[in-house]
Amino acid sequence: MPHRIYDVIVIGTGAGGGMAIKTLCEAGLKVCALNSGRRLDPHKDFRSHRMPWDLKYRGFGDPQTHSASEPDFPGPSEYVHGAWETEHVHTTAPGTDWVWPRCSAVGGKTNFWGRSSAIFGDIDFRAASLDGYDVDWPVTYAEMAPYYRRVEQMVGVASTVQNRPSNPDGIYLPPMNFRCLDMILQKGAEKVGVPYLPDRISQLTVPLGTHPACHYCGNCTSGCDVGAFFSAPYFLLPAAEASGNLELRTNALARNIVVDESGQAQGVAYIDRQSRREFEVYGRAIVIAASCLETTRIMLNSKSRHWPTGIANSSGQLGRNLCDHLYGIAASGYLPQLVGQPSFPDNVSDSSIAWMPRWQNLLHPREEKFIRGYSVYPDGGCWEFPSYQDEIEGFGSSFKREIKRRYPAPISMMTQIPTLTSPQNFVDIDPQAVDSYGVPTLRVHFQWGANELAMWEHSKTMCGEVMRAAGGIVDFVADHPESPGYSQHEIGTCRMGNDPRKFVTNRFGQTHDVANLYVADASLFVNVTDKPPAFSILTFSLRTSEHIVQQFRDHTH
């Protein structure tokens, strides 16, 4: 029996996959989307409105499967059951520490993301021309700007126009209001001479189309039950499903790309996770957006006589150039001004109300002892759990009173530091290990480099200065950053560029070697910048998807 051939197979339904699915379906193409996990039902699966005492383990998770010392780390969660994977499908090279939280639910990490949405500018796209390190992107801001504007209007971003050289402005909803702690820290930042501004946040401060405004309950990263911030299931997939052109296969774990006689992509082999049986699905073109490392793993595992080291890897660059954001608490402590004051709803967005956008190396690319720059997310105040009791000595009524007095006052500053590419940082397939489905696992080779560690030291000094200038007390500085991978912002393993000998894909995310295979996630990105990747994944995927539509109209695919 002849098998059905779809126009496009899309692997992944998150920021990259979701945007591709919507764009392709709305253009009339028949799409089969593969998603490795299940669909979530927000009303059943998101327990973000539960008080902690309504959860068996109070939100800390079952100690048998969950480390109480890391209650916030994605894992088996009492707030969202079964969205995050528990199996490790990577190994690490000796000396490498790498964590890889994976969200397999439909919509992927967009269900739970931090929503911080600053966009890339020419300072990022042309960074190599400015400081001489590595290579420029094959696109410019002028080229990307119209796509950024369209995504801003589709998604809804709350912020203000800020006229900063490292941060192009866009079209914004009214910003989130500053809280007491923001007012105080902003004054401190002003004295030190660094910016403290409303973040760009994809959270609806006013209704947008059919999407309601936020109600500021504060448990965003456990999933939003009304869809008041952008996620693929609320904002992208409904339009695709309404078109009648989408077939979404859930629990479908993509294993490898299947190629035809000429080495072009013909389909995808996947494992149905419930029956554990393997299936193939065929399409004229394939978009892979399984998240940076999973995309790379699928491509490296797509070996054939045409592609002995993985599909579309004639450059040998597939898996190379792994970059990440170094996250760490550069300073934390408290604001004495707020000690003993009434509690205030500080946590109404699970972070991202304010940020300190890159202020380093703006006038000259080599002003500092490092190149490029980083940004900082300040936060604090009254959250669900008093977070600073370790800093208070003793016990008894005085301890209890001090916890209450200090409840509105804690502050902390989290850095977002880009790593530079390094020949030592890459992924390959571990020849010794397979996962529980028999699929070879990824092996990660990664170390922080000197440039990012210099920024880390710089950020500790600067954040401490800002806090002290605001009248704050710094009582904690992290000895070391969070583990690599913690940010979930890995990028770079299928970089885009014009030269087929040096890059995996061209400027549209189309692989140089295989004309009908496209990549639409952060693995494309050339450098990691000081901005979070999700919003740019949406934007690049929109552009790639429209390029694919054009190829179909031109009868190339």
Binding site: M51, P212, A213, Q337, D346, V348, E384, Q389
Partner: protein
């Protein structure tokens, strides 16, 4: 903004469903801690909790320690909030935690016998406090009590976790989250950005 009122109702419905969804049975004190106000607590005699992991004597000691760490004073404390039940639950699911608690409780009783000639629970309240202070305040640390200090940190951490995740504990803090706000809450002191002239704290 007609549409917003519908949304508002929908959101309030969700909040109400979530509040009513406390489906977890079994913990005597949590159940009534959630259902009654402080004033009525004293009149309710809960049936005795039967620990899952701890032995009776150990459990009594855990309960006493949580009570010393977050006492009932002008406001309810760890005892009313059933913190020892939470610790028993968490320990019952984690063998390494079981070992740390059991060894720590044993250390404390041995220590108490050595210094005061009695088990910890047999001491007067002031003696108990005197024994714990060197484990809790840097200025009072004594050599040779490192294991005791580690244990005290552990039980204090779990007492805080268990207390501030109950309705009693979050009421104590006046926890302002998981509510409905019609706009993002703004600092009410706009003409005092440095917050140098706030009203004196109540506490």
């Amino acid at each position: 903004m007609a549409g917003q009122n519908i949304e508002r109702r929908e959101i309030l419905r969700i909040l109400a469903v979530a509040a009513a969804a406390a489906g977890f049975p079994g913990f005597q004190k949590w159940a009534f801690a959630g259902a009654h106000s402080h004033s009525s607590l004293a009149q309710i005699k809960p049936t005795a909790y039967r620990p899952v992991f701890f032995r009776e004597q150990e459990y009594a000691l855990v309960e006493r320690l949580t009570d010393i760490i977050i006492p009932s004073d002008e406001t309810p404390g760890a005892r009313e909030a059933g913190v020892s039940e939470f610790i028993d639950l968490m320990a019952s699911r984690d063998t390494s935690l079981q070992n740390r608690f059991r060894a720590g409780l044993m250390w404390l009783n041995n220590h108490s016998r050595k210094r005061r000639g009695k088990l910890f629970l047999a001491l007067a309240a002031e003696e108990q406090v005197a024994l714990l202070e060197p484990l809790a305040y840097k200025a009072k640390y004594r050599a040779g009590e490192e294991r005791g200090r580690d244990f005290f940190d552990l039980i204090r951490e779990y007492t805080v976790m268990g207390f501030y995740t109950t309705e009693i504990g979050l009421k104590e803090l006046d926890f302002p989250g998981l509510r409905f706000y019609s706009e993002s809450p703004a600092c009410p002191h706009q003409n005092d950005p440095e917050h140098r002239h706030l009203p004196s704290p109540n506490l």
